[in-house]
Structure formats: structure tokens, C-alpha cells
């Protein structure tokens, strides 16, 4: 299997490895699916829970503030109610008591003109008491509004006459007076402090202008900035009711913010918890899930090998024992384990082992038998070898004898050939002598007669020469010289022929030539003769047959063969055709065939036709040397061979096979 990056994964895995992988993957996938499910369900739920919690918190804070304010209002209201009836001195004491209770940092009793008739302060403000007494607060907006509207009014922009700082104020008009209560400046912080304890959530209270009033767990930038834009268009539920939830940024992080408004001071309370992944609950859940995921994976990684080992160990034992089987150790059983399939396999393995063992013993027996027969065969083999040796020795002996015989025969053949040659030569010499004898004898006789004639003529001359005797003498001389001349000419011719036979091989000329050309030359020389005859000669010589040989002798051969055909083959025939065909044989030889459709060579002569002085025209002009000369030239000079086929009455074919390059003749010594 080809993996990216050029890695080759082999198709095989160890069982343990694949079990481990299986277990780990199963665990991981299972946990992954569960984790995804849990997160998908839990995270939104947690976020929604937190948002709802924030909302209820905000509502609670707003409610708490309202309660505090209501409490204060109640106290001051009660005071206002009482003051109307009580004498001033008691009224003042009640004012002091109210301030002493806490909650208000100052309470003023203002007359109709806004002058401070009495101011109740916490202990320690002696100078302030003096300076505020009789002060003119007519321009105080809260006083003016209360006087004008003749009802209780809360203000969160109330400027304290005592401290000069902005704080929460309450004005309650009654009869001709106005009770003005200044709430302690840290009142707001106190309100949210007592309400929302313990948590690290950002808590923020802003006034109607969106400016910071109080808060906890806030970044400075959040304190300093204006929140009006963020709180625009809040749903009606924000005012009292169930509050609202919005996503706002605290310290740069999005928070799910519960928002509620307090009607009395028009303050907006915000309690926030980080949204999304920044939410601690979400984080915890994710962390738990991931922790569990990792733990399960680790556990899987730890347990899986153990379990895999346990599963695969009986298999390993089985493998070991099977291996033992392969090496021939039978007899040991295979251990069983907890897995049924492996046990089944083990049983089958044992059965197989038994079967193998039986087979093995059978094999051993047949092996023994085989060995025995092998032994026999070897024995026979040895005997055979001995016999063969003996036969060979005999044969060698016989061979030696045969070789000796061959040698003897060869020598005999050589002798025979030599004696044949000698005989032949002897016959040639005999023939030559015989042949020459006649003309030369005749010649001698004629000249001798002439010599006698001359002697007798002389005698005649002495007696007196008569014309008749002179004429008779001249006639006899003429006749006699004719006879001598004719016979000497004949002897000359014979000698020329004989010369041909004893071919002087060293004086023959060798050159390169084209066979076709030589054949054409020969045919040309024969043309005059052929014209006078009704016979035809046809030559078919391929153009490129080049020979390095003796053209003269070759031509002689061809001439003799042609002559033979003309004189012997076509004798008594009215038409005849001689065909000369040359056929290259391989690279180095050529086969020249001279075929005539004449009378053929008589079977009685066939064996001896190449011998000298064998002729069918003995005494009628044939010397009987023609074919012998041919044979001798072909074999000795041209280095080839000659054969013939003939059918009486149909024709003869002479086949001359000569090498293209004639063998070099050693110089005649």
C-alpha cells in the first residue's frame, strides 16, 4: 500500500499491533464521539445557564438597591410624617437618630426658602454642622424639583452640600419643609457589595448617562468609559421584570451580561460572565472532556498492549509449538487459551501433526526401501562397468588390429595406385611407343627404301641413265618421301598429344579470370567447327563467377569434353544439343556441367572411361587420352573432381567441380 511521502506500508501487521491499534482507535473514536456530543449539548447549556444566572443576578442587585432605597425612603418618609406633628426640638432629635442609624450621611431640614433649618450629621463633623446651619440650598436642583413637583424625588446627581461630591439624594417635601437626605457616597458600592459577594464576575452599575457609578472586578478602562451606547435599545424586561441579556465587552473579552434597571435612580446593573470559550464553566467542561479524552487514550495505550498480549499469547505459544512441528519435534501438545477459535485451531493443528507424523514414518520406510534398491543398482552398475571395460578393451584391441589392417590396406592402395600409375604410365609409354612405332617404322621403311632406291639409281647411272629409269626414280623418291613425311607428321602429332598428357604443370599460367569469358573463348574457337555441323552448343554461365585458377587447362578440359560429345556422343545423329551450365557451390567452388543429349557412354566403358587409352574409337582416330587428360587436369591442376552420369541412348552429363581458387602447385624440383 502506497502512503503519501513514498512510504510503503507492507500488507502485514503483527496481531498485537493491530489489536492495540484497534483498541486505541475504538477508545479514541468512542470518546471522541461522546466528547463531541457532551460538548455540543453541555456547552450551549452551560452558557445559557450562566447567562440566565447573570440576568437573575442583575435583577437581584437592582431589586436589592430598590429595597435599600425604599428602606431609606421609608425612614425619611416616616420622619417627614412625624416631623409635621412633633415639636421642632424632637423633630431634630429624630433627624439625628435617622442619621445615626446609618445609610444617610446627612439629612437637612430645609425651609420653604431653601435655608437649612437643621442638619443632622454623623459624629465628628462639628465644623460642617456650623457652616451648613443656615446655608442657602435654594439652588439645589433636587430641592427645587421636590418643591416644584411636591413629591418625593430621588436623584443620583445630587451634589452634597457637605462634601461637594456627587452622591444619591432624596428629597421629601412635607408641609412647608423639605427633608433632604444625602446618601453616603459609597452607598452604591455597598449596595452591590452586599449583594454580589464571593464571585469574580465583573459587576458594573452605571447611571442613566452610562457613566460608572460602582462596580467590582472591573478593568480601569471599563470604569472610565461611557456605556450608554452599549445599553441602547434594551428590551422592556430590563426595567424591573426579568432583566435582559446582552453580549458586552469587559476588559476586551466578550461577556454574557445580565442587565437590569432600577427605576428609582435609573441605574443600570450589569453582571457579566465570560462568553464562549472564556466562560469558566465552558472551559472546565472542555477541560474535563479533553482530560477524559486524553486519560482514556492514555489508559487505552496502557491497557491495550496488555490486553492484546493476553489475546495473542496463546497464539504465540501455538506458533512456537507449530514451528517445533516444522522442525520435526512431534509429541508435544499445543497449549489452549481462552479463545475458542484458537483452541479449535490448536486441535486441528494437533490432528495435522499426527497425520504428518504417520506420513513421516511411512516415508522413512519407503526411504529405507529405496536405499536398498539403490544399493542394488549400484552393485549392478559396478558389474556393468566391469563388463563395459572388458568390452572396451576388446574393442580397443580389435580397433588396433583394424588400424593395422587399415595401414596395410592403405599401403597396399598406395602401392596399387603407384603400380596403377606405373602400369598406367607403363601403358601410356607402351601406348606411346606402340603408337609412335607405326609411323616412325613406316617412315624409317620409306626412307630406307629411298636409300635403296638411291643405291640402285647410282647403279643405273653407272650403267648409263635412261629417262625411264630417272622418271621411275623420281616417282619412287616422291612416293617414298610422301610416305615418310606423312608418317613423321603423324609421329609429330602424336608426340604433341603425348606432351599434353604429361602436362608440365609448372609452366602452366595462373591468373584471375571470369569463367564466363573463358567459356565464351572456347566456344568461339569451336565456332568454325560447329558451323559445319547440325549440332548446337549453349552456355549458361552466371556473370560474376570469378576464379583464380588456370584458364588454359580449364579451357582444355572444356574443349576435350565438347569434342567428346561431338565425336562420340553425336556420332551418327542428325541433331544434338550441348549445354554448358556453371553453378556456384558455396563460396569457394563452382560446378560446371557439360550435358549432351547424345548416345551416351556404353556401360561397359563407364568404369574405365577416365583411364588412359580407353576409347570407343580405338583404331579410328581416338587416342583414348582425352578424358584421361581431362581427369588429370581437373584433379591435379585445378584441384577439383569430375564425375558423370550417362544413360545409353539419351545423353551424358559431365560434372566438373573445381574450387574458385586453384590449389598452389609446389614448384617442380
Amino acid at each position: 500500500m502506497r502512503l503519501p511521502g513514498g512510504w510503503m506500508a507492507s500488507g502485514e501487521w503483527r496481531l498485537r499491533t493491530s489489536l492495540v491499534v484497534l483498541l486505541v482507535v475504538a477508545t479514541v473514536v468512542t470518546f471522541g464521539v461522546i466528547a463531541a456530543g457532551v460538548l455540543a449539548w453541555r456547552v450551549p447549556a452551560a452558557l445559557a445557564e450562566d447567562a440566565a444566572r447573570m440576568r437573575s443576578e442583575a435583577v437581584r442587585l437592582a431589586h436589592h438597591l430598590e429595597q435599600l432605597l425604599s428602606g431609606l425612603e421609608g425612614r425619611l418618609g416616616a420622619l417627614a410624617g412625624l416631623d409635621a406633628e412633633l415639636p421642632p426640638e424632637q423633630g431634630r432629635r429624630l433627624l439625628d437618630a435617622v442619621v445615626a442609624e446609618g445609610g444617610f450621611q446627612a439629612v437637612y431640614l430645609l425651609g420653604r426658602d431653601g435655608r437649612v433649618e437643621h442638619v443632622a450629621l454623623p459624629p465628628g463633623w462639628t465644623n460642617a454642622q456650623a457652616s451648613l446651619q443656615g446655608a442657602d440650598l435654594s439652588r439645589n436642583p433636587l430641592f427645587s424639583a421636590a418643591r416644584h413637583l411636591d413629591r418625593r424625588i430621588w436623584s443620583d446627581r445630587y451634589l452634597s452640600a457637605l462634601t461637594g461630591e456627587s452622591t444619591v439624594g432624596l428629597a421629601i417635601p412635607f408641609a412647608d419643609h423639605v427633608l433632604l437626605g444625602e446618601v453616603a457616597p459609597d452607598f452604591a458600592q455597598y449596595a452591590i457589595g452586599s449583594g454580589a459577594e464571593g464571585r469574580a464576575n465583573p459587576v458594573l452599575v452605571v447611571d442613566r448617562a452610562g457613566e460608572y457609578v460602582a462596580g467590582r472586578n472591573l478593568a480601569e478602562s471599563d470604569r472610565l468609559r461611557n456605556w450608554a451606547a452599549d445599553l441602547r435599545d434594551l428590551p422592556a424586561t430590563a426595567d424591573g421584570g426579568d432583566g435582559a441579556v446582552r453580549q458586552l465587552g469587559f476588559a476586551g473579552v466578550l461577556h454574557d451580561t445580565g442587565i437590569a434597571r432600577s427605576g428609582k435612580l435609573d441605574w443600570t446593573f450589569m453582571v457579566a460572565v465570560p462568553a464562549g470559550l472564556a466562560n469558566p464553566q465552558v472551559r472546565a467542561t472542555v477541560a474535563i472532556v479533553f482530560g477524559g479524552f486524553l486519560a482514556s487514550m492514555l489508559l487505552a495505550l496502557v491497557l491495550a498492549p496488555l490486553w492484546a498480549s493476553r489475546m495473542s499469547s496463546p497464539l504465540r505459544a501455538m506458533i512456537a509449538e507449530t514451528r517445533a512441528l516444522t522442525t520435526g519435534k512431534f509429541g508435544g501438545g499445543i497449549t489452549r487459551g481462552p479463545i475458542r477459535e484458537f483452541n479449535q485451531l490448536a486441535t486441528d493443528m494437533e490432528t495435522m501433526a499426527e497425520a504428518i507424523r504417520e506420513r513421516q514414518s511411512e516415508l522413512r520406510q519407503s526411504e529405507a526401501r529405496l536405499r536398498q534398491s539403490l544399493q542394488n543398482v549400484r552393485q549392478l552398475n559396478l558389474e556393468l562397468e566391469e563388463r563395459v571395460e572388458r568390452r572396451t578393451a576388446d574393442l580397443a584391441h580389435a580397433n588396433d588390429e583394424l588400424s593395422a589392417a587399415m595401414e596395410t590396406l592403405k599401403m597396399a592402395q598406395t602401392e596399387l595406385v603407384r603400380s596403377e600409375k606405373l602400369a598406367s604410365l607403363g601403358s601410356i609409354v607402351g601406348g606411346v611407343a606402340h603408337e609412335l612405332n607405326t609411323p616412325i617404322g613406316n617412315g624409317v621403311m620409306a626412307v630406307s627404301t629411298l636409300h635403296d632406291e638411291v643405291g640402285s639409281f647410282r647403279g643405273e647411272i653407272a650403267k648409263g641413265l635412261r629417262r625411264a629409269a630417272l622418271d621411275a626414280f623420281v616417282d619412287r623418291v616422291e612416293r617414298g618421301s610422301e610416305i615418310a613425311l606423312r608418317n613423321l607428321k603423324r609421329a609429330n602429332e602424336l608426340i604433341a598429344s603425348f606432351k599434353q598428357v604429361a602436362v608440365d604443370q609448372t609452366s602452366v599460367q595462373r591468373r584471375r579470370f571470369r569463367l564466363g569469358e573463358v567459356v565464351d573463348e572456347i566456344l568461339l574457337t569451336l565456332q568454325p567447327t560447329m558451323r559445319r555441323t547440325p549440332y548446337k552448343v549453349r552456355a549458361r554461365i552466371p556473370a560474376g563467377v570469378e576464379m583464380d585458377s588456370y584458364p588454359g587447362p580449364l579451357g582444355q578440359v572444356l574443349t576435350n569434353l565438347l569434342n567428346n560429345a561431338l565425336t562420340h556422343g553425336f556420332e551418327g545423329r542428325r541433331h544434338g544439343l550441348i549445354e554448358i551450365v556453371a553453378e556456384p557451390l558455396g563460396d569457394d567452388r563452382v560446378c560446371l556441367t557439360v550435358t549432351d543429349d547424345g548416345s551416351g557412354i556404353p556401360p561397359a566403358l563407364a568404369d574405365r572411361v577416365f583411364d588412359p587409352f580407353v576409347t570407343s574409337k580405338l583404331g579410328r582416330g581416338g587416342s583414348g587420352l582425352g578424358l584421361h587428360i581431362v581427369w588429370s587436369t581437373v584433379t591435379a591442376v585445378l584441384g577439383g573432381s569430375i564425375s558423370f552420369t550417362s544413360e545409353a541412348g539419351h545423353g551424358t552429363t559431365f560434372r566438373v567441380i573445381v574450387p574458385l581458387v586453384a590449389p598452389r602447385q609446389p614448384a617442380a624440383g
Binding site: 456650623a130 435654594s138 436642583p141
Partner: protein, 365 residues
């Protein structure tokens, strides 16, 4: 290696060709602590100015960002705040709101090359210097001289009891000195009455001390709250005695806490509340809607300062620094009138003489 270098070059080129960053303007003031109302008003005024500017299209089509930092009237906090703003590479800082903080913040801003445009710093020592501090209001000397002159000539005052607050002494003493010099030069006499401002201050005692010197007028160099108290007490004894105070007292608090006692009090105001200037009325409306208050001098001055910064930033060309632009490319439209900075970065805008009439600040012409 070559590829890395090429990438770096490409990124640099992209960065160079990237759209310009939006302009950042910082604000620094006391948003917690003693003079938080000053800081708050300053921040609010700056905010209104920025929002107005952004609604009109901002700079290069990008909105301007206002980054607010609190100095809490505390030197350490102030140093941290200004360092923070300098690190964020703000174009300019509107603030600080008090001279004490300016002492601390100016060196850092100077080193960081950031311009400070203070709406309300008036201490003499900051004027006439070629530095990174631009001042919107005139110095204490000018204000005090104006006051001395007015009261000497107009009201024939010859003897003045000057109640001054030791808690903000660097400012109050500077004012007192300037006034004394000017008044004495004219031929008048100043009786200083020092006190330490606290919530439980012995107002009675202080007033008695001041009145013991039989003054023609009582000068209050105090916060508005204290001025209201003093006014109440003085009026209780001397219903017709002239009261006047410096610019610091000119806030709604004075009227709220002073009631009828502050009627007729003479003050200085940075702006004319009754002015028909469209910018001022628009500002008062926007401020009132947003913050349910009057902007007061701090709000208006901060508004003017911020507008000047933004205008200068919009008007500068090429690589001109904001400092040069503020000095050269004025006048800048303020809420009531124009603002021009001279070569020392001073605007020398003279405050109006104002009197409290029927609970309002009315400019005397």
C-alpha cells in the same frame, strides 16, 4: 535565504502601501480622586469633539480614536498613563487638566515627541516656553491681572481678603501672587487668608479671619464647593460684601451649593454661556443629552482643545508635524470662538468677566 529576504521585502512594501492607520488621540485627566469632576468634564468635552469630528468623516475617511487614561491626580499613575499613551503612538494628548499633573507628564511627552494640549492648565511657569505643551486658557497672571484691574477700577476695591486653599498650593499661590502683584501695583492691598481645604473645614473661623481685616471684597481662590460655603458664611454676616473668585470656581456646583449667597459674585468664565455661537449651543445640547449636565469651562475648553488637535491633524500636509501644524495652521474653530496658538504654543485666550445672576453665569460686557 533569498526567499525569506524576498518575503520580507514584499511585506515591507505591502506595509508601506497599506492604508494609513486611524488617528489616535489620547486624553489624560483626573477621573478619580479629588478633582474628578474636572477630569470628567474634560473627557466628556473631548469625547463630544471626537464624535462630532468622526460623524463629519474623520481623517482620510477613517474615524479618530479617543484613548482615555486616568491620572487620578497621582504622579505615579500619571506617569504610567502618559507612558501608556506614548507607547500607543497617539498623535497628541488632550490634557492634563491640572498644573500639578502637567509638571509630571510634560517631560515624558516631550521625550516621546507627543504634543500635549491642555484645556485647563494655567500656571504661569508653563507659558512662553517652546515646548510640546499647548495651552488653551490664558495664564494665571493674565487672569489675575484682569481681575485686579477690573475690581480696582470698576468696583473701587482697595482692600481684598484673599482666602486661598493650601491643598492646591502650586496653583492657588501662583494665582494669589499674580493678583497681589497686579493689585499692589495699582495701589491696592491684599490680605491673604490661607486654609487647608477639607470636608470638615472650619469655614466659620476662616470667614471670621477674612472679615476681621475689614476688606472691601473677599477673593476666593478655592474650589467651587469651598467657594459656595465661604459665600454662604460671608453673606450670613455681610450680605452686601463683594465676593469674587477665580475661574476655578465657575461651575454649576458653585450655584447649586451656594444658592442665593453667590448671587452677584464676580467670576471668570472661559466661555459665555449665553452666547449665541452655534458651536457652543450645539456643544451644550450634545453634552446635556449625553451627560445630563452643563459642560462647564472644563468641558468647553477640552472640546476646543480636541477640535484644534483634530483640525490641525486634518490640515497638515506631507510630513508636517502636528506641533508645527498647531502653531501654523490655525485659527481653529472652537465652540464659541477661534483658537490660535502662538510660537510658544500659548493661545492667550482671555476669559470673560462673569457675574452670577439668577443662578446663571452672565458675562459682563
Amino acid at each position: 535565504m533569498v526567499r525569506a529576504a524576498f518575503l520580507v521585502l514584499l511585506l515591507a512594501a505591502l506595509a508601506a502601501c497599506s492604508p494609513p492607520e486611524p488617528l489616535r488621540v489620547g486624553f489624560i485627566g483626573g477621573l478619580s480622586g479629588r478633582v474628578a469632576d474636572l477630569g470628567e468634564a474634560g473627557r466628556n468635552g473631548a469625547q463630544i469633539a471626537v464624535e462630532e469630528f468622526n460623524r463629519a468623516g474623520g481623517i482620510n475617511g477613517l474615524p479618530v480614536e479617543l484613548i482615555v487614561r486616568d491620572d487620578g491626580q497621582n504622579p505615579e499613575k500619571a506617569i504610567a498613563a502618559v507612558n501608556d499613551l506614548v507607547a500607543m503612538r497617539v498623535a497628541a494628548i488632550v490634557g492634563p487638566m491640572t498644573s500639578a499633573m502637567a509638571d509630571v507628564v510634560l517631560p515624558i511627552a516631550q521625550r516621546g515627541g507627543v504634543v500635549l494640549v491642555s484645556p485647563t492648565v494655567t500656571a504661569r511657569k508653563f507659558f512662553g516656553l517652546d515646548d510640546n505643551l499647548f495651552l488653551v486658557m490664558s495664564s494665571t497672571r493674565e487672569e489675575a491681572a484682569l481681575s485686579a484691574d477690573f475690581h480696582f477700577r470698576h468696583n473701587r476695591t482697595r482692600r481684598v481678603a484673599a482666602i486661598h486653599d493650601l491643598r492646591n498650593r502650586s496653583y492657588t499661590e501662583s494665582w494669589l501672587e499674580d493678583f497681589t502683584v497686579a493689585f499692589q501695583a495699582l495701589g491696592g492691598n491684599v490680605v491673604p487668608v490661607a486654609y487647608e481645604s477639607s470636608q470638615d473645614a472650619d469655614v466659620q473661623g476662616i470667614v471670621r479671619r477674612a472679615l476681621d481685616s475689614r476688606p472691601d471684597a473677599v477673593l476666593l481662590i478655592t474650589s467651587a464647593v469651598d467657594a459656595a460655603r465661604f459665600a454662604q458664611k460671608v453673606r450670613a454676616q455681610e450680605p452686601a460684601l463683594l465676593l469674587f473668585a477665580n475661574e476655578r470656581a465657575t461651575t454649576e456646583r458653585l450655584i447649586e451649593l451656594g444658592g442665593k449667597a453667590v448671587e452677584g459674585m464676580v467670576l471668570h468664565n472661559y466661555f459665555d454661556q449665553a452666547s449665541a455661537a452655534e458651536g457652543l449651543q450645539r456643544l451644550r445640547r450634545a453634552y446635556g443629552e449625553r451627560f445630563q449636565r452643563e459642560p462647564g469651562f472644563a468641558g468647553v475648553a477640552a472640546y476646543d482643545a480636541t477640535r484644534a488637535v483634530l483640525e490641525a491633524a486634518a490640515r497638515r500636509s506631507g510630513n508636517e508635524s502636528l506641533r508645527d501644524a498647531l502653531q501654523k495652521r490655525g485659527p481653529f474653530a472652537g465652540a464659541e470662538g477661534d483658537l490660535t496658538f502662538d510660537s510658544s504654543g500659548d493661545s492667550r485666550r482671555v476669559p470673560h468677566i462673569t457675574v452670577v445672576q439668577d443662578g446663571r453665569f452672565v458675562v459682563l460686557h
